[in-house]
Subunit: 71 residues, 2 copies
C-alpha cells in the first residue's frame, strides 16, 4: 500500500500521503488500492480540496519528508 | 498524544484526527502538544480548511470511527 500510494502521492507522515491528482488518477489509485486492501477491515480516507488555496497546511515539529523528497 | 488529540478532535485513523476547532482551541491544542512532543523528532501536520464545503471526504473500505463515536 505504501508503494502504491507513493507512486501517486508524497508520503508525509506514517500512513498519510498528500498530492495533486486528477480525478482520473484518483480513480486509478482507489481501484488499485481496493485490489490489495481487505475492504471489510482496512480503510482509506481521502480528503479532497478543489483548490490548493482553500487548504492551509501547518507543520509543528519536524517535517519528515524533506529527506524523502531528495531520495 | 492520542488522549490529548481526542479531547479536541475525532480520531479517524491511526494517527489521524479530524474536527472543527476555533483558532483559539487550535492554538491551545498545539501548545499542549508541544509540551509532550520532541520537536526535533516528532511532527504534527495540520490541514485547515476555512469552510467545510471546501473539503470533500471520501471513504474507501471500513469507516473505523463509527464505534468510536458511540463510545
Amino acid at each position: 500500500m505504501l508503494k502504491l500510494c507513493r507512486r501517486y502521492l508524497n508520503w508525509i507522515q506514517n500512513s498519510v500521503f498528500e498530492g495533486e491528482l486528477t480525478d482520473v488518477k484518483l480513480k486509478e489509485l482507489v481501484s488499485e488500492a481496493k485490489e490489495i486492501m481487505i475492504e471489510e477491515k482496512d480503510s482509506i480516507i481521502i480528503f479532497k480540496s478543489r483548490q490548493e488555496k482553500w487548504l492551509d497546511k501547518m507543520i509543528v515539529g519536524q517535517e519528515k519528508n524533506k529527506l524523502d523528497n531528495i531520495i
